[in-house]
């Protein structure tokens, strides 16, 4: 029996070394330790062995079984690791580039708009929106623009033909013409007509001017405007808001200055200058950045607010201009060309 076992073990170990696949392994395993395996057959002969020889023989068989199992485990480990190696393939070269696209990007105008909205949100201003196709009432009349003011001229404003109909843009005055809004101030009027004071709103959006496109002008551009209506709003409050906005946006060493100006819908009116010489490409002490003022009592009366009770301020500026200042961009047309070498620079 011992001789038989040794021969069996020698045969098995020679066979196991050559096993290449999991199927071969399972077959080999069955041949020795399966129900019809050779070792199993030997074990079945135990019953025929005299009782006194059984312990010694049992030990021998168990040893052989243990050895066989050890060889099987080794073969299985070898096969498994070969399988994994085959699955893995060659080692990666970490210096090769990923073929996947890089990160997506937001447009710089979106970035500036959202940053302004975040800053204003902290001061309690909520975003309001209005249509880009407007009527003469919302764009001009309600903002005290005289009937023959040059801004209303077909020279400067895009109009639609008299028969044009816009289903979801309401007219205030029968027969008034549709146009492309020249400023986001029209949203202030819609907001005041729809809501009740006090109000703190910011309206970012696209506006249109009938103008030659060049490095600083564009047929459409974007504005952001704030409107605050409450009791006892003062010029000083307006200045405080602007100081807060620009210190938040451009850094604490940014200063603002008011210059008296004229707008039909504010009184007093100011142009806002910025002193921000730490920004790129800024070579002037004061840079004009926007217009503002205290809401004219006539505008309040026009939207049905009692101008002896309600006061307010409004402030507006161009987003392109702000983005150009922040990023040091010198041509407005880059915003609309969409060259990815430009767009990828801002996020």
């Amino acid at each position: 029996m011992q001789v038989t076992l040794s021969a069996l073990l020698a045969k098995a170990s020679a066979e196991f070394v050559g096993l290449q696949s999991r199927a071969d392994f399972e077959a080999a395993k069955a041949r020795y330790v399966g129900p019809n395996g050779e070792l199993t057959a030997l074990m079945k002969q135990m019953g025929a062995v005299p009782k006194e020889q059984r312990p010694a023989l049992g030990k021998l068989i168990n040893e052989a079984k243990g050895q066989l199992q050890g060889q099987l485990d080794a073969a299985l480990a070898r096969i498994s690791s070969a399988e994994i190696a085959a699955q893995l393939g060659a080692a990666i070269d970490p210096t090769l580039p990923s073929p996947d696209a890089g990160p997506g990007t937001s447009h710089p105008l979106t970035l500036v708009r959202e940053e302004m909205c975040r800053i204003l949100r902290k001061a309690g201003f909520a975003v309001v929106e209005g249509p880009e196709v407007e009527t003469e009432y919302y764009c001009f009349d309600a903002l005290s623009t005289p009937a023959d003011h040059p801004a209303r001229d077909a020279q400067d404003t895009f109009y639609f033909p008299a028969q044009a109909r816009f289903g979801n843009i309401s007219k205030k005055v029968a027969g008034e013409k549709y146009l492309l809004r020249t400023h986001t101030s029209s949203v202030q009027i819609r907001t005041m007509l729809k809501g009740k004071p006090p109000l703190r709103v910011v309206s970012p959006g696209r506006v249109y001017r009938r103008d030659t496109s060049d490095a600083t002008h564009s047929a459409n551009f974007h504005q952001i405007e704030c409107l605050y209506v409450d009791k006892n709003v003062t010029v000083r409050d307006l200045k405080a808001l602007l100081d807060y906005i620009f210190a938040s946006l451009l850094g604490k060493n940014t200063k603002t200055r008011f210059r008296p100006h004229y707008f039909g819908y504010t009184e007093p009116s100011f142009e806002v200058d910025l002193s921000a010489q730490h920004l790129p490409k800024v070579n002037k002490e004061w840079i004009e950045i926007g217009g503002c003022g205290m809401v004219d009592p006539a505008v309040f009366e026009g939207v049905g607010y009692d101008s002896t009770v309600w006061t307010g301020y409004a402030f507006g500026m161009g987003l392109e201009r702000l983005a150009m200042l922040m990023y040091g961009i010198d041509d407005i047309r880059y915003f609309y060309q969409n060259d990815l070498r430009f767009l990828k620079q801002f996020t």
């Binding site: 073929p99 997506g104 979801n168």
Partner: protein
């Protein structure tokens, strides 16, 4: 508008520096667009010298060594090296001595030039700041006194401010106007020019010069004043007058024309001067033009007039387009001796309309359009009489013809200093406010106590047409106090910010965040596109309905009905510049028409490009329709669209540039939203010059269909028991939408399971056409998962249901179960 500093100084004492003046003008509310210095700036150690000898420099071809007499006080004769070609002996030239500082901070020192001592520099005009370039030394008069400072013999320099005056301030469109403003700022008095002529006293009546004026359009011309002079002598203006006009960019013509311009620039009142001999019938008529009437204006152009325009005519023909420009037929000429001065007021709207219709603008119309002070009109004519008599002689003759102008002017505003302080939000004392107002000639004529407050009655001068309410005086006080002195404060927000951002803003943020996260690049395109592009890519209807009435350029004449065209253009630009671009998106308004009515939609669109020319060491699979579908579904969900109820259906027919059979749409204009996407027409994309295969998708929704988020969702419990899966292959007509079959199967499965347990999902995992199937059929593989909320299901109960499902699904005969 150009304002000369020297001229201003005639009316107000200004000793501030140019920078201080610029700041004052700016803070008064007039934007300074430019500052031009003319004439010689103040220079020290720059004197007149005479070149005594000239020798060639031994070490340089183009240099000369000169000895120059600069006067005994400056050390007599000096040796100076000079590079100018005209440093000839005997020339008197400007000499900058050591210690002089020339414009541009150029310091003159004793020096050696190529080994030769040079003690000073002979100067050209540009080196002195008199010209931008020059070709040789500035040659002075042969009798210029040697050794005398150059400033003493050269005309005084001037500074000219180029100002932008806002339309509400016509009173500032003159030197007197700006002098009033600066006088208020610096608290100095205004010195008005002395007038000697104060109306007709000699009573010489010469109706053969001007007999009468008739105003037939009084609403357009509230005031007209005509006055004759005889015996004037036309000639060049004196140097001082020419200098004033030249300083502000006007070309001197002759003494009469120049006086007219001078008075306009001084007082803001435009004048016109007629040659009286050219007035037929000696009567001036202010009337509307006859439709089609013609007039050849001074600039040599024939103007065709309309009946909305006002002219000054004689008995035969128009002579002047009122307020704009004179006709060549009444022009003052060299031999003119008798003249009529016109000083008038015209209605601003009338002048503006005429100027616009004729495409003509003049210094005169610029002022009339904004409004001139009727109370200064006649005075301006008197001022012109003084200046004409001083420069051209002549005698005033009667009758003086004044029509209109009898409107009394009295405007007062009642305001309390407390009101001003309340609007400003900071303290300015009553005295300071009074000082500011009165500096502007806004005189407090009465103060009525209304304890504890006081009401001031403020008298407004006639030229301040912009002031008529208390709020207007707040601005005046602040202007003079200084808008740069508004004290800082902390911005204060409300304790709680009420109101959420508009759903549009929230939607745009969500879409942008999603697509950026999906590696798209956001682009921004113009809203306006060309008619041709719309006709080609969208439809002729769109090209008709979306047109502007007055486009500025042909390629921006129509509203965009889609964002895809802009995305395609951006893709093309990047390809043409060799910049790889695969994924782009844009959000923005789009405009679509339905039955003749256009609606403004919110749009969000994206584009994916697969360009085989762009190589990669490791291939990735190209995008396909289902890539587009997934993005569209997520955009739709962000817009609050119930995607489960949306039916994507194939797009067929031309228009919008989709490739038939490879694009789909859900929703439609009539329900307020639509979603479409797929492959862009391969032929059109190629024709547009774009490389590769392009997929796109767009969502459009009416702004009013977006709603704020509906609050928080409630938690749905889910089963912790295992699923049981069954696969089922169904054979259907090849054209039948898979989703239709899936829903049929789901419906049957739901009915079959009843209340005992649930069909959790029916999903398609395989689509097969070809061998083994009849022609025109396809096989759809479905995976059905069953699960119970309460227990583990047994195979038997699931099998029973599964068998039932298989029996029912074939019931209508259109579906068979694949073996």
């Amino acid at each position: 508008m150009k304002i000369s500093l020297n001229w201003l100084k005639q009316y107000v004492a200004l000793d501030a520096s140019v920078d201080e003046l610029k700041r004052a003008i700016t803070l008064l509310g007039f934007e300074v667009e430019g500052v031009i210095n003319t004439g010689l700036p103040p220079l020290v150690q720059v004197v007149v010298g005479e070149i005594k000898t000239r020798e060639k420099h031994p070490n340089a071809d183009k240099l000369s060594i000169c000895t120059v007499d600069v006067g005994l006080a400056q050390g007599g004769v000096r040796t100076i090296v000079c590079g100018a070609p005209n440093c000839d002996v005997g020339n008197r030239v400007p000499v900058a001595l050591p210690g002089a500082i020339l414009p541009g901070d150029f310091k003159i020192k004793e020096s050696k030039i190529r080994g030769q001592q040079s003690s000073g520099m002979l100067c050209a005009a540009d080196e002195l700041g008199l010209a931008s370039q020059s070709s040789g030394l500035l040659l002075l008069a042969a009798d210029a006194p040697i050794g005398v400072a150059l400033n003493e013999i050269m005309p005084e320099g001037d500074t000219v401010f180029d100002l932008e005056v806002t339309p509400n301030r016509p009173d500032a469109l003159s030197h007197i106007g700006m002098a009033r403003e600066l006088a208020a700022w610096f608290r100095r008095p205004v010195k008005f020019p002395p007038t000697t002529f104060r109306g007709i006293t000699n009573e010489i009546l010469r109706p053969d010069i001007l007999a009468s004026v008739r105003v037939e359009a009084p609403e357009d011309c509230p005031l007209y004043f005509g006055l004759g002079l005889t015996g004037v002598k036309v000639g060049p203006s004196p140097a001082w007058l020419q200098e004033r006009l030249q300083a502000v960019g006007l070309r001197p013509i002759n003494n009469l024309v120049d006086v007219g311009n001078y008075v306009m620039l001084e007082l803001g009142q435009p004048l016109h001067i007629f040659d009286a001999k050219k007035i037929k019938g000696q009567q001036l008529v202010v009337r509307r033009a006859v439709e089609g009437e013609k007039l050849c204006t001074l600039d040599g152009k024939e103007r065709i007039l309309s009946d909305r325009m006002v002219v000054i005519a004689d008995s035969a023909q128009p002579l002047v387009i009122a307020g704009l420009m004179g006709g060549a037929n009444a022009e003052v000429e060299a031999q003119t001796t008798d003249i009529v001065i016109e000083a008038a007021c015209f209605r601003p709207q009338s002048i503006r309309g005429t100027a616009k219709r004729l495409g003509l603008a003049s210094d005169s119309s610029y002022r009339f359009e904004r409004g001139v002070d009727p109370h200064g009109t006649v005075a301006a004519a008197y001022r012109a009489v003084d200046l004409i008599q001083a420069t051209a002689g002549g005698t005033v003759v009667g009758p003086a013809c004044l029509v209109g102008g009898d409107q009394a002017w009295a405007r007062e505003i009642i305001v309390s200093p407390d009101y001003i302080r309340e609007r400003l939000g900071f303290y300015i004392s009553d005295e300071e406010m009074r000082g500011a107002l009165e500096a502007l000639n806004l005189i407090i004529v009465a103060a009525v106590a209304r304890p504890p407050a006081v009401d001031w009655t403020v008298k407004i001068p006639s030229y301040r047409t912009d002031l008529d309410r208390p709020i207007d005086l707040v601005e005046e006080v602040l202007r003079i106090y200084g808008t740069d002195r508004v004290p800082p404060a902390l911005a204060v927000g409300p304790a709680l910010a009420d109101g959420d951002d508009d759903p549009i803003a929230i939607f745009n943020r969500q879409v942008t965040a999603y697509l950026v996260g999906q590696r798209f690049h956001e682009v921004v395109n113009y809203t306006l596109r060309s008619r041709q592009e719309l006709a080609t890519w969208v439809s002729d209807t769109a090209a008709a309905e979306l047109a502007l009435a007055n486009p500025f350029v042909d390629d921006q004449s129509h509203l965009r009905p889609t964002l895809v065209l802009g995305l395609l253009a951006a893709l093309k630009l990047n390809q043409s510049r060799g910049v790889p671009a695969t994924q782009l998106f844009e959000t923005g308004r789009v405009f679509m028409e339905l039955n003749g009515t256009v609606q403004e939609y919110l749009g969000a669109a994206f584009l994916l490009c697969h360009n085989p020319k762009e190589r990669s060491w490791l291939a990735r699979s190209a995008p396909d329709f289902y890539t587009v579908k997934q993005h569209l579904m997520i955009l739709a969900q962000q817009a609050g669209i119930d995607w489960a109820s949306a039916e994507l259906r194939p797009i067929s027919g031309a228009g919008w540039g989709w490739q038939e059979g490879h694009a789909a749409v859900a929703g439609e204009s009539s329900i307020g939203w639509s979603v479409c996407g797929g492959l862009l027409d391969l032929t059109m994309v190629r024709a547009a010059g774009v490389e590769g295969t392009v997929w796109a998708g767009m969502l459009a929704i009416l702004p009013e269909k977006l709603t704020s988020s509906a609050g928080h969702r409630r938690y749905q419990p889910f089963s912790l028991f295992p699923t049981v899966l069954r696969d089922l292959a169904l054979v259907v007509a090849a054209a039948r939408p898979a989703e239709e079959v899936r829903r049929a199967l789901l419906g049957i499965a739901q009915a079959s399971t009843g209340a005992a347990f649930a069909i959790e999902a029916v999903e398609i995992f395989d689509v097969y056409r070809g061998q083994g199937l009849p022609e025109g059929k396809k096989s759809l593989g479905f995976s059905l998962s069953f699960r119970s909320q309460e227990r583990t299901l047994t195979d038997d109960e699931v099998n029973a249901v599964f068998t039932k499902i298989q029996q029912q699904i074939v019931a209508d005969g259109s579906i068979t179960v694949r073996a």
